[in-house]
């Protein structure tokens, strides 16, 4: 599975400044991504998933509103080692975006231009990155639309986004993201707005494309069913921090961080459908406000394994376990047994 190292993120931190107040949206995020791998980033709204991915794409606003620290190293497709993404000048970054790392957004209706045809939008992307005549770019667009399973691709070139269904729009977005054969694709909740039947088609498509091209995927979602289906590795985020990272099977079978455990338990089990298995497990309380994070472990006010005097005082570090997992919890060694 593990091919070449494509992306290495170390101690990534993002903070926003508004009206004098500073909010740490993301801190201390580190991970690696290899060729052909799918990393699922899981967490609730406000946990920092999207901010992390925007930081990787360098799409966040500039300082002083927004400060990005840490290091993001991305393998250069042309083969000359690793690029220092956070230090690249913007013109060079524009060449990296799309070519090396591309992104698919949640809502295809708002991320496509409503007054341009699908064909115009895809050929524009292609020609921006690859020197190509209009005619050839059009043929390439047809090939891409066909690749992502859009029927009658040549006719679709003249269609406007509103003429396509949600699933078709999302396919068109994926086609656009793939137009320069990026080695890393970030998919930010790409199926959340879609029906389950269409979601199944899109997941299938991503898996197929990944097998063909060996690209690595960062899949952002809050749907644990989707995670179980596509991920090789899972990174769970809470309140702007990575709280657990592990391969998908051990994570589902033995979550070490109480938050992960709670999330997994709060999903209704399909195999118990209709059995009325009693109340669902629910994590009490709400996600903390990033401007006023609780002291100690950010999850302690909602945690069922909370130890007074420890969890509300000491901020846990991200520990590495013997079997290559990472967990941020003061009490995790007690949960291993």
């Amino acid at each position: 599975m593990a091919g070449e190292l494509l992306l290495e993120v170390e101690n990534l931190a993002v903070s926003f400044r508004s009206r004098g107040a500073v909010a740490d949206a993301v801190s201390d995020v580190s991970f690696r991504l290899h060729q052909g791998e799918t990393l699922a980033m899981v967490g609730e709204s406000g946990s920092g998933k999207s901010v992390t991915s925007l930081a990787l794409m360098r799409l966040l606003p500039d300082a002083p509103q927004c400060q990005v620290r840490g290091s993001v190293k991305l393998r250069d497709k042309t083969g000359s080692g690793m690029l220092d993404v956070l230090a690249l000048p913007e013109p060079q970054m524009q060449a990296v975006r799309g070519n090396n790392i591309a992104m698919v957004f949640q809502e295809p209706m708002t991320s496509l231009n409503p007054v341009k045809t699908i064909g115009a939008q895809i050929t524009e992307t292609i020609r921006l990155h690859r020197p190509m005549l209009a005619r050839a770019a059009e043929d390439e667009a047809v090939r891409l639309l066909d690749l992502v399973g859009i029927p009658a691709p040549r006719q679709r070139l003249t269609a406007y986004p509103h003429q396509l269904s949600g699933g078709m729009r999302q396919r068109a977005m994926i086609a656009m993201a793939l137009s320069c054969e990026p080695s890393v694709l970030i998919a930010d909740e790409p199926t959340t707005a879609l029906d389950v039947t269409i979601q199944a088609q899109i997941l299938d498509l991503l898996k197929r494309l990944q097998e063909q091209t060996g690209m690595a995927v960062i899949f952002i979602t809050h749907n644990l069913g989707v995670v179980a289906e596509i991920a090789d590795r899972v990174m769970v985020m809470y309140s702007g921090r990575v709280v657990e990272q592990a391969d998908v099977v051990p994570l589902f079978q033995q979550p070490l961080m109480p938050y992960t455990r709670g999330l997994l338990r709060s999903v209704p089990r399909l195999d118990l459908a209709g059995r009325r298995a009693g109340a669902l497990y629910a994590i009490p309380g709400n996600v903390p406000d990033p401007r006023r994070p609780p002291p100690g472990c950010a999850f302690h006010p909602r945690c069922d394994s909370f130890a007074d005097g420890r969890c509300n005082v000491e901020a846990p570090r991200l520990d590495s376990t013997a079997d290559g997992r990472q967990v941020r919890c003061l009490r995790w060694p007690e949960f291993v047994a």
Binding site: V196, T197, H222, V227, S266, V267, P268, D271, G274, A277
Partner: protein
């Protein structure tokens, strides 16, 4: 069991396009002959892809839009063509919980004003202290604190806002609730809280709930029975366990097999549907699902298959009895 709500051949068509005098107008067949009965005290879920008519069904049953044809009976009484005035006593007994707790609460009103609005409309004359007490009771019932009454929606989290929406729906002691995707806008950890609340309230207050949703795991947990809709028609109805374990309609099979299972060690074969749901303006002839159905026969194009009994309490609208369908769970 007795039926609280009976829906009989309900149709709702929306005109689209057409010229100035409505010539050549087309119809969106949002509901195309839906018959269902909702038993007292049950949670009946309606599932289906977007565009299948779930939301229109909920709104038409509450008479928030007028049906094109068909009948709705509430506790045996036909309410299909009651005037607004005659409908008022019924309105109190049937309420709606909306999907988006951010859009469905007035940002300029306090929680107390929001929750008390139905009282002002239907039970005018009660004193301010009575109202305040009633609101406090309601907030406690849905797991909020009386001090939340003075807050504004933006001060509350998504889960708390949805609780406010539920409190508003319950303040007139309704017997029937339509919940239209009440948890799909919420975070996973908050979803479970609201699902538990709905189940608890159903027991405590003896509510009957029409639950509209697309998350099959939530539906499997919360419902007594499930109705599956496709292009404005009900294609299958059964008890929850039956539908998950032995579906009889090919659409149910495909829809349920598309739901991802939160267990990475389970790899099941999936019935992948091709393409999208067809346009309800020009639905396919005969069985509307035939264009995406892997079991379709030439006959499927000619007749609209009626819902017929295929087991105890189990109805399905498919002419093929001879096929073995895959269950979504063992």
């Amino acid at each position: 069991m007795t039926a609280l709500v009976e829906i009989d051949s309900l149709q709702k068509h929306f005109p689209v396009g057409g010229g100035l005098f409505g010539r050549g107008k087309k119809q969106v067949r949002a509901l195309d002959g839906v018959s269902l009965s909702i038993e007292k005290g049950e949670i009946l879920s309606v599932v289906g892809e977007s565009g299948s008519g779930k939301t229109t069904l909920g709104r038409t049953v509450l008479r928030l839009t007028d049906p094109t044809a068909g009948a709705i009976r509430f506790e045996g009484q036909d309410i299909t063509s009651l005037s607004r005035r005659a409908l008022r006593p019924f309105r109190q007994r049937m309420q709606l919980v909306f999907q988006d707790p951010f859009a469905s609460l007035n940002p300029r009103q306090t929680v107390e004003q929001i929750v008390a609005t139905p009282l002002a409309i239907h039970a005018g004359g009660s004193s301010a202290t009575e109202k305040r007490e009633r609101v406090a009771d309601m907030l406690r019932l849905v797991g909020l604190q009386p001090h939340h009454a003075d807050r504004y929606p933006h001060e509350l989290s998504g889960g708390q806002r949805q609780r406010v929406g539920i409190a508003r729906a319950l303040i007139l002691n309704p017997s029937f609730l339509v919940a239209d995707e009440p948890v799909s806008a919420l975070d996973v950890s908050i979803q479970a809280q609201v699902v538990n609340l709905l189940l608890e309230l159903k027991e405590k207050l003896g509510l009957t709930i029409l639950f509209i949703a697309h998350d099959l795991a939530v539906v499997g947990h919360i419902s007594d029975r499930i109705a599956v809709m496709y292009l404005g028609r009900v294609v299958e109805v059964a008890e929850t366990g039956t539908l998950f374990r032995s579906p009889r309609h090919p659409y149910t099979e495909a829809l349920f097999s598309a739901a991802p299972i939160p267990d990475p060690t389970v790899r099941r074969s999936r019935v992948l549907l091709q393409g999208d749901i067809p346009s309800p303006i020009d639905p396919p002839s005969g069985c509307a699902f035939r264009t995406r159905c892997r079991h379709a026969l030439p006959e499927c194009a000619t007749v609209v298959p009626p819902l017929r009994q295929v087991g105890p309490g189990h109805l399905s609208a498919c002419i093929r009895d001879d096929i073995a369908l895959q269950a979504s769970i063992a």
